[in-house]
Symmetry: C2
């Protein structure tokens, strides 16, 4: 017997993420931390850089020694030595003196600024002319100017980009606590689906979804685990689900979620231990037959079998959901590129619609051209650069409208 | 002795990529192909999907049997059977007949279209009312509509997104030829740099660049190989270069490329077997002291030691260069997000400037706010979402200008 439809909006489905806990965390080398999510707050144990540092090659001086210096009336300073990189300079820079310094060098006592080498002329080994005055602290970084001791520099839930990786390293966190990469189980179902190594007979088609879905999971820095193709047989499907639920953090099944002759997927999901159907149908297009369920503590998704629908639902719904399970804060990181619509498009009210578009640069603007073609054609996703989202209460958009494109 | 400066523009440096050959290719499972670059043209060996297929759940019919059908005057058709998924239907659909079919099912002979189940009402086991007429080929995909036999479906040099992975799988390419992931050697230099595990004494600083640069290399789907920190010693540096050049496809050294007391990096690079300095200085800011050289068949980069400069040059110059070595076609894939500048900014003519900006959504528009702070501060890169490029011949930009932001 069919369950009553629990059709939900995109926002309602995303709200359900709160019913699930994040994946576990682990401690890894900061060198491997790119694309992970921080599972702890990092505080600076010391000031960074920790000493007053030159940001230019030139001469460390007391700024007051240069006041009034110009091209026509240069200041004439005595060279009192050279700062060796990485060393603590032992001398003091007095008024009227200058010390050679390279970018990154430590300023000697008495020096509060650096004159760029381009604004000087060496007269002889012992004296230099300064053509431009400097202000105190010019061309230097103060000891705690980057980060101060005890400051929280990176918060739990931060996505680690190259700069966050470098900052953690610079503060001496050679190992950091991050969330584990989620493992996502993928099951393909349908009597018409054959493994890609087989030559499909008429009526049959190779398994595309296992590959497109795996690609998106990888793009989201998670690990896809494929459980192959399961025929339209409840016992076999249940067995595949049980194995996938045991081995992964989230399970996706594609195919079998349409209301038709083969809607037993929902019955199989319902029959799993401690299972609950959270959404049976979503008010988005494509992707209406999407199922979200809970099996024990893990989310289970039923995606439409059509290749384009499965990809759109994964990109728009499942990946943002997965990002939260990965421990990411709830900042929306979807990249949306503003563009101008190339032609009128119609849309039905009462559902969120996602239109495939191709992007073209024209005279400094980005034009979004809807990709025509049926949603069963993977060709349309090959030609598309992004998805245009049309709101639930919008009847259509006019040519020339400003739109935001979600990149594919 | 110093070489003459060979200061080049960004475009001139990118032109040099033609002097280098792509990395080698290898054959891998299509399941692992996400983020790789195709090293062969893929042609469809058969039509895709290969048979006339339903795109909706409903009834396969000859469209003419439905002509004139409407809510008030439905067409009444006899049900002649059900198409089993994956099977070749053996019956023929004659005029006045309908056959139950699910999405993805093969249309029987005589049927040229599918009536959606939503537009029908089952009268009894043997007859159905049709409330909406269909046109021939409505709700079906033709045998060669996605891709036709012998069509080139994916060209050499294509970046493999999830949809390209799925398409290759769907056409039966279980193994495909792709370019190898480039290995990129990273050397840090400078007497002031200590390993991140060490507590730096005053005057010294932990190695940040090996980590930020590795992160960007990983983001570009290549493999970073770190050769540690080399002191300011020509013999040690030469040895590190030789090892890195032997083991990797491209070598990056950070630090030691500024014109100061430590410009022996260029001498060491020049002394490598079959070496040629291609650029010594680039007209970009930050990043002026950048070096590009050829050592044998491999590119060698000298990046500024300052953390922000090194990151900007890597992102803006080295990664696009690396993408070409990875076999990618020369389409510019840099994502640029149109935004509105929050305040006036000045810029010097004669060089390309890259300003760190933070992006904020405000009333449906994206505002780009320049991140203030010295370029030696990694904090500024932590706060930044992107880089604003200011052209060589532009003196500055006014508040409210439309700008394109390169995402970080």
């Amino acid at each position: 017997m069919n369950q009553f439809f629990k059709v939900k909006t995109l926002e309602e489905v995303m709200e359900q993420v709160k019913d699930f806990s994040s994946v576990e965390s682990e401690t890894i080398s900061v060198f491997d931390a790119f694309s992970r999510v921080l599972a702890e707050n990092l505080r600076a144990k010391k000031d960074l850089p920790g000493f007053r540092r030159a940001t230019m090659d030139g001469y460390a001086v007391a700024a007051s020694s240069t006041f009034g210096a110009s091209e026509s009336t240069p200041a004439w300073l005595d060279i009192a030595g050279t700062v060796s990189m990485g060393d603590i300079p032992e001398f003091t820079v007095e008024a009227g003196k200058a010390v050679k310094i390279s970018t990154g060098g430590m300023l000697p006592k008495g020096a509060d600024s650096v004159v760029m080498v381009e604004h000087t002329e060496l007269i002889d080994d012992r004296s230099v002319e300064i053509y431009k005055s400097v202000a105190p602290l010019q061309n230097v970084i103060e000891a705690s100017e980057d980060f101060a001791e005890n400051e929280t520099v990176l918060a739990e839930g931060t996505f680690i980009r190259p700069q966050e990786e470098g900052l953690a390293a610079g503060l001496g966190f050679s190992k950091i606590r991050v969330y584990k990469r989620p493992r996502v189980g993928i099951i393909s179902t349908g009597d018409e689906i054959v493994p890609i190594e087989e030559e499909p007979l008429p009526g049959k088609i190779r398994d595309i979804n296992s590959y497109t879905l795996s690609g998106f999971i990888r793009e989201a820095h998670a690990e896809p685990v494929c459980y192959g193709i399961v025929k339209d047989d409840p016992a076999a499907l249940k067995k595949a689900f049980e194995k996938a639920l045991e081995e992964t953090d989230m399970v996706i099944i594609s195919g079998g979620s349409s209301v038709g002759t083969r809607d037993f997927t929902i019955d199989v999901i319902s029959s799993l231990p401690d299972a609950e159907i959270l959404a049976h149908g979503m008010s988005i297009s494509p992707g209406k037959p999407t199922i979200l369920a809970r099996a024990g503590k893990k989310p289970v998704w039923g995606l439409p079998g059509q290749v384009v629908s499965a990809m759109v639902v994964l990109k728009i719904v499942v990946i943002p959901f997965l990002n939260r399970l990965k421990g990411l804060d709830d900042r929306d990181r979807t990249i949306r590129v503003p563009a101008i619509l190339s032609r009128n498009i119609a849309s039905a009210q009462g559902r969120r619609e996602f239109i495939r578009v191709l992007l073209e640069h024209q005279a400094g603007r980005i034009i979004a051209k809807p990709v025509l073609g049926k949603s069963g054609l993977i060709r349309t996703m090959i030609h598309a650069d992004g998805l245009l989202e049309i709101g639930d209460h919008v009847e259509g958009l006019e040519k020339g409208s400003f739109v935001d494109i979600i990149l594919l």
